[in-house]
């Protein structure tokens, strides 16, 4: 299954309807970006103009905000996003070796998506699971005590739900 099957293609009318409830909200830009990315999987280039017009901001301001925050993506992600914690507590329990294993296993580096569009691999800096290190997040599901073998089991299982 391709990534496109999970995420809808850009549609300005749909995007506008997502932003509509935020017009009366103070400081709406982050909630708006979360709404757009939550629906489309990323923040398409076309969204910048729409966000600027909707909230009476310059395109430069909107672009500046999108690019400041690591979470917002300018390209569609894979079917699943796998985040491996690389912060100190997980390092103390072998997260660097886990990351190396994951990269070899998936054939991609951090910030990339596998060729079949199945998995995007990302580093993350602390998932608050430091007493069950090393930790990973698959989409919104947290896993702890992740050995390379457990990583394979989880990622393979997640690939074929």
């Amino acid at each position: 299954m391709s990534a496109a099957a999970r995420w809808p293609v850009w549609n300005e009318a749909v995007a506008s309807s997502l932003l509509e409830p935020l017009l009366a909200v103070p400081g709406p830009l982050l909630p708006a970006l979360h709404a757009v990315q939550g629906h489309f999987g990323y923040v398409p280039a076309e969204a910048t103009q729409l966000l600027a017009t909707t909230f009476n901001l310059s395109r430069a301001e909107v672009h500046g905000v999108i690019t400041f925050y690591d979470f917002f993506r300018s390209e569609p992600p894979g079917m699943r996003i796998v985040r491996i914690c690389q912060a100190e507590a997980c390092q103390s329990m072998g997260s660097e070796a886990l990351a190396a294993h994951a990269k070899a296993r998936l054939g991609v580096d951090f910030h990339h998506t596998t060729a079949d569009g199945a998995i995007s691999l990302e580093p993350v800096y602390c998932l608050g699971n430091c007493a069950c290190a090393p930790a990973i997040l698959i989409d919104e599901r947290l896993y702890g005590r992740v050995s390379p073998a457990r990583f394979d089991a989880l990622v393979l299982a997640e690939e074929t739900p």
Binding site: P31, H34, F68, D70, R83, Q91, C130, A131, G144
Partner: protein, 519 residues
């Protein structure tokens, strides 16, 4: 009817609590045993997770760590009556790790169903808010000052003084902002409060609003905590439905509204002025201070901005009295600190203790030494900006001033332990790398200094004559410490220089004496 508890905390779920809960439900049905399954918070004994408890006439009996495969055997043994089994840990309240804590902020965590307001009320919940509603704003602020509570986010600034400034600043609109951008590695106490006892945070923020005259609160939560997002939103909805939040807090006629906002993966947004910028919908860049947020904060209005633990501690201070809280602790560190034992420790978890215990008690009596069985070589306390302390300093007392005296920082109470396989030069280099990655870019010492730091570190490690590079490193650290606008650039030298000072051999430096001469 048997009552079984399986935590819903994301750390417990991360090691299989959901699957164990499902297996227990399935097995009970198969044996035609009527079951009441409670998804409680985690007690914070993570090496025992998933920790299953069963209610018996003798209290709650704990079994753990339980896997799906263990479940039929537990029923065979009669665990629903608290019967013996290899995984039996005894009565939960008698487990040494818990019994030897002083849980004030975390009093309900593990005990209750986090989303049950009935559970919350039955366990001292809302008592603090009811007391506060009967007090004048000035009296509330006085009581908080008397309690001695200092900001638990890391800066340890007296919370009462912050509140007083906001109270005394005239404005038609004021805000309460909760900093839930818990980005420090080795910390999860904020996450646990939000997932395992969310009403205490809601109650604390409401008391803050009543105290300073703010009607709107925001919780700024990091996206890395999806479970906390769900739980907080559900708890807020229930609090509105029960009249705890909204136009008339507990029927007092006083308004307090609360909303959760999601961050987007910027460590710097844990710094309070960056967080406010981000809440306003901007890049999370540092603001110059003054003006302080207490005077000109969110949208330019007076704003109380406190960490989750600070706000979650407010209810117990009002429920039991400021003096009660103040009488825990030592020196200027009053009350208790929820410490988080993480990294290479046999028994990682949440330990809330009055200030004044030794770091070594945490590492060995609670933590049980390393998970790997090898000697502990160093601990980093206070997150990625905290110092690396060698074993010769493990006698340091958990106290803000005692940590400062040995060149460390207690911060948010996170303790990350490393065994003797750690390469301290790599950790020092990582500190610069992390700073470069997360710098907001506003000030030069942090934006440029962090990248130069990685380069100097690489040259130092490769050099045969280290003196020149070491001099450069110390110069750079001096510039970052004194020239950065906020703690990110200002404290990055702390892990770097503590690593060089205490572990010179990892940098190819002969001995501490040689270092002192060249510095």
């Amino acid at each position: 009817m048997i009552t079984v508890y399986v935590p819903r905390d994301s750390a417990a779920r991360s090691v299989g609590a959901d699957e164990v809960a499902a297996a227990i439900t399935h097995e009970a049905a198969r044996r035609q045993l009527p079951l009441r399954l409670v998804r409680n918070g985690s007690w914070g004994m993570f090496w025992l997770e998933p920790l299953v408890e069963v209610a018996t006439p003798a209290g709650r009996i704990a079994y753990g760590p339980v896997t799906v495969a263990d479940v039929p055997g537990l029923f065979d043994a009669g665990f629903e009556r608290g019967a013996p089994h290899p995984l039996r840990q005894g009565p939960t309240s008698e487990i040494g790790y818990l019994k030897n804590q002083e849980r004030l902020t975390f009093a309900r965590v593990g005990l209750t169903d986090p989303l049950s307001l009935d559970d919350y009320r039955a366990n001292e919940g809302l008592a603090g808010l009811e007391r506060a509603l009967a007090m004048t704003p000035a009296a509330i602020v006085d009581a908080l000052t008397t309690s001695g509570l200092r900001g638990r986010g890391g800066a340890a600034f007296p919370t009462g003084i912050k509140w007083r400034t906001v109270l005394n600043t005239e404005s038609p609109q004021k805000y309460i902002v909760c900093n839930a951008d818990e980005g420090d590695s080795g910390t999860f106490s904020d996450r646990m409060i939000m997932e395992d006892d969310p009403y205490t945070l809601i109650e604390g923020m409401t008391i803050a609003g009543i105290a300073v005259g703010a009607t709107q609160g925001y919780i700024y939560l990091r996206f890395e905590y999806p479970d906390a997002w769900q739980t907080l939103n559900e708890a807020i909805a229930r609090a509105y439905a029960a009249g705890v939040l909204g136009a008339s807090v507990l029927g007092s006629g006083k308004r307090f509204d609360l909303e959760v906002r999601l961050g987007a993966g910027a460590y710097i947004c844990g710094e309070e002025t960056s967080l406010l910028e981000s809440l306003e919908g901007k890049r999370g860049q540092i603001r110059f201070k003054p003006p302080l947020p207490a005077v000109q904060g969110l949208f330019g209005k007076p704003t109380v901005i406190n960490n989750v633990i600070s706000l979650a501690t407010v209810p117990v201070i009002f429920a039991r009295g400021a003096e009660y809280y103040r009488d825990f602790g030592m020196g200027r560190s009053r009350g208790t600190l929820p410490l988080q034992l993480t990294g290479n420790l046999a028994r990682g978890g949440l330990v809330e203790k009055a200030f004044g215990l030794k770091l070594s008690e945490l590492l060995y009596d609670f933590g049980g030494g390393s998970a790997s069985g090898r000697p502990l070589r160093t601990v980093q306390v206070g997150g990625p900006l905290g110092a690396y302390l060698p074993s010769s300093l493990f006698d340091t007392l958990v106290d803000y001033e005692a940590f400062a005296a040995v060149g460390g920082m207690l911060g948010h109470g996170g303790v990350v332990a490393f065994d003797d396989r750690v390469n301290m030069a790599k950790m020092a280099r990582y500190a610069f790398e992390f700073c470069a990655l997360e710098s907001c870019g506003k000030c030069t010492p942090c934006r440029i200094g962090s990248t130069r730091g990685v380069e100097v570190m690489d040259r130092l490690l490769a050099a045969s004559n280290k003196t020149r590079e070491l001099g450069l490193l110390n110069d750079l650290c001096d510039t970052m410490t004194h020239g950065s606008l906020c703690a990110l650039g200002g404290l990055t030298p702390l892990p770097v220089q503590s690593a060089v000072k205490h572990f010179p051999e990892d940098f190819g430096l002969a001995a501490p004496a040689a270092l002192a001469q060249s510095a």
